[in-house]
Symmetry: D2
Subunit: 301 residues, 4 copies
């Protein structure tokens, strides 16, 4: 298929590259043009502006950092809503607010276009290997049409419904589940350490029995080691997603007390200076609150 | 091996039966004698009292409901501390407080005996099939001596350290982890339902990707269906374990805010009359707090 | 003094009337013109538009429902920023976000104008009697110039600093304090009722000793009686203020776990249908969570 | 009246002295006999044992540190239940658990005695000046008989009902209310400080308007100054009372989420080493979690 791709960050770049590898025709746009040129050698055409990208065909995919970045690409003069042809399909793969997803659905519909949300689960390494989990929602015919795109970037596809915002609620709920697992391990490991139990033994037991799942293996090891390198997902991004989940929940009159607690803990982590830390390091707060010293060995000179 | 077994409840009965099946010599005692007689046909000897059971050999295993039941078996006239021989080993497999585990360690030591904690993970069905997860802690030579017992009742054994209380901290931490997963799913499913997303789709996605673990499959299905039959573990027992985790944590000056929140939610569930419900039904509170109706279909006549 | 007054709602109308009573020259604007005409007999001039009101003199006061209402009055074509003269002073007495206060400070400054925040504490009855508590912040000379205005609407004036947003942080913090007192009483009264203690006896003890303050007398009686009529401040407005406090706190990297909890409880109250209830009725949730029936007697036919 | 008084600690000593000043006949017992001798000059008789004190007359008052101290005085050989005459009245003024109050009611009744709970509010200075707040509950005739005692130690008496435990629930609820006010101020002051607002200005505004109550004046100043000297009530005692409130609430199936949160914060304060600090210093945690430095000036050499 032919499509335009907007956004070549840590996730967008490897995703676009996988599309090229699978033989799709990709026209790319990125605010920093140097990123586009990296893909040129791999066969990508370069659009000089969002408007040109939007007008270039029937499918436009966006993979951007946050609501603000996506809004600036979609709305106003030269934005996608204005530049895409009638009947075009815009698929947003970013993690954005439910409210923005609803607004995009309305504005694209008013312009005779179709909007699909298809956020993804997975860290940059999964984007490289084309093994993301894709969670699309939107009109079934549009979702079907985008199937080759999803298969190029992901290994698992879980459609969630006909309203695009459903996919965004799922994405935010999924990240909330991960954050909950991190919080639970942080507290349990702190308790175990206070009683002299090696949290690694506990983690081994868990992940060989009831909790034999990647989320516990991956994040559990980070927390046991108390080292969070390389940073897969920063604390401010983690907080942003929890905030979006809470905003979507408030709009639907749903209390999420566990999400509220995690938000408070992440804000504390930021107040203590951990802006560049992986979001899993919020687990460290549970240890600090128990008076435990860091486990992380000092960096070697 | 030959041993005495005290406690023939929903867990203790199948565990003792598995010991007999494996050819071990078992002398049983239970407050309600009828239970003992059930095992007689399978080859068990019956002790008429705790004192006789305690004096009958070098190993005594207990599997009782709570601290109170174990205290009444161990302390005072005719209790295990008084009746067991010097050098005898008492292995408690019940879920008890860390404080009681510490007291048993001291009192048995003062009587020249050895105490081992070996709580188990698993519902009654796992006890039947001999597939419990056993978490022993105590002096290594005693733990080694008990290995045949552990292998008769469990399929996985995870030693946790040389201090018996370490196993109790692990057991309580493990139950806290389960309760945390229940709480997280309860909140996430409520949010999804408010946005019209089928929580089963979300659960399928989770359990086929990052959360592919039994705890999410088993409890997730109960919560999605909003049916909690048969009851595997009642709400008051669940609350008891969370309370024990919080007490152990307070004694070690460790805050567990997520456990505190779960405790509050379980108390609310009890105040609403759910004493006979499975502890997983605490997830229903998240739905009620969001104004959602029960999903559970009315029972057919 | 002469000034323009924008906003004639439940608070703004009696405040403007008090200004007229004290002999000030007031030009009023309100979206619903009928409200303006009510004041005409009392001597007010009527401005046909925000722009005319903004151009009418050197001081403009606004008293509006929320951020959205104030933004629509201030920004864009015909808004206050555009229509007020250089050197003019805009004093906002509404409860708004810290972020909007910061934006107004900047935009008015860029237009050569001065912005002052002066939110008030007090229910409509206090607005009628001119006994509001006024909390101004902004450039000292502007705050001094507005003193006659503050004295006409309030009986106590507490300047909070030179940055206008400081007054908004104080207002939101004050409302958080009130909500905290409501939550604490709700929980304590529920506990007392479960033990058969009359919460009125407890409240009498408190308000005659350590807690002898209006906030406990006023809200305590509402909660003891479990009747919340007439509604002084609705639940959605209460939730809005808690949300603004949390947003300001997050922007400054400050966790407010008690505010988070109150927010969750208010969302639950809304999910249960209490949109028109007084915000103090959030205390009812504590009783419900304890399984207590409402105390409020059924309305007589 | 003639009575025996047991317990001459920081509260009990000045209370007993006030009884002597008012002309009552007091026989004292204290574990450390030196304390008794201090009162001898003021006219007190000294009992050599609890049993002698208990047998000395018809009224025995106890003022002890906690449940354990009171249990050791009341139960077993030589305890009050055994030594007091039939028809005697035991009035406990200590802050104890609801469960112990219920047990004392039963055990004294079985021995033909009467039990009254009459805990007090007030710091040691109020005990000195005889201005404590007394909260009695129990059989009306016994409470009436004790009136001269209450008037000698307190300036305000608030009877709470006919069941002794009611007074204990009230005492624990009252301390919970104080802790809630401390928590709320801690969070609000942290937010204000992050925005450059002087919390003293905010406190002045509060305590001259809606929050014009001693609890805000007294504790507010401690928190604003961030100095907690002299220590009126230590953190471990504060935590004990919150724990007792939570235990009473759990026994009555009442969640107290705000008390749970305060408990977590106090445990954190202890984990950080603040065992000798005043319980109001739990407010410091809110500032630390916001990344704020201590305000307390370093002690002068």
């Amino acid at each position: 298929m032919n499509l335009a791709w907007i956004g070549l960050g840590r996730m967008g770049m490897p995703m676009a590259r996988n599309l090229l590898r699978k033989g799709h025709g990709v026209t790319v746009f990125n605010r920093t043009r140097a990123k586009c040129e990296e893909l040129s050698a791999a066969g990508a055409a370069i659009a000089p502006s969002v408007a040109v990208a939007g007008a270039s065909g029937r499918v436009v995919a966006t993979m951007l950092a946050d609501d603000g970045a996506l809004e600036s690409v979609c709305f106003g003069a030269g934005g996608l809503v204005q530049s895409m042809p009638r009947g075009g399909v815009h698929v947003s793969m970013s993690t954005i607010s439910v409210a923005l997803s609803q607004r995009l659905t309305e504005e694209h519909a008013a312009a005779g276009q179709v909007y699909v949300s298809a956020p993804v689960f997975g860290r940059p390494a999964a984007a490289e290997s084309g093994t993301l989990v894709v969670v699309p929602a939107g009109p079934p015919s549009a979702v079907a049409q985008l199937q080759p795109l999803f298969e190029a970037v992901g290994s698992r596809i879980f459609p969630m419904g006909e309203q695009p915002y459903m996919a965004n609620v799922v994405k935010l709920s999924g990240n909330f589940m991960i954050a909950s697992a991190i919080e639970a391990m942080g507290e349990a490991f702190a308790l175990l350490r206070k009683y002299g139990v090696d949290p690694q033994l506990f983690l081994d037991m868990l992940t060989n029995t009831l909790f034999a799942a990647p989320v516990y293996k991956i994040y559990g090891s980070l927390i046991v080691e108390d080292t969070y390198q390389p940073v897969g997902f920063t604390m401010p991004l983690g907080l942003k997603d929890v905030r979006l989940a809470l905003a979507a929940a408030e709009a639907a009159e749903t209390p999420l007390p566990l999400a509220s607690m995690i938000r408070d803990h992440m804000i504390t982590a930021l107040a203590h200076g951990n802006h560049n830390a992986d979001w899993a390091s919020v687990a460290r707060l549970a240890a600090e609150n128990a008076g435990l010293p860091p486990r992380q060995k000092a960096a070697q000179p």
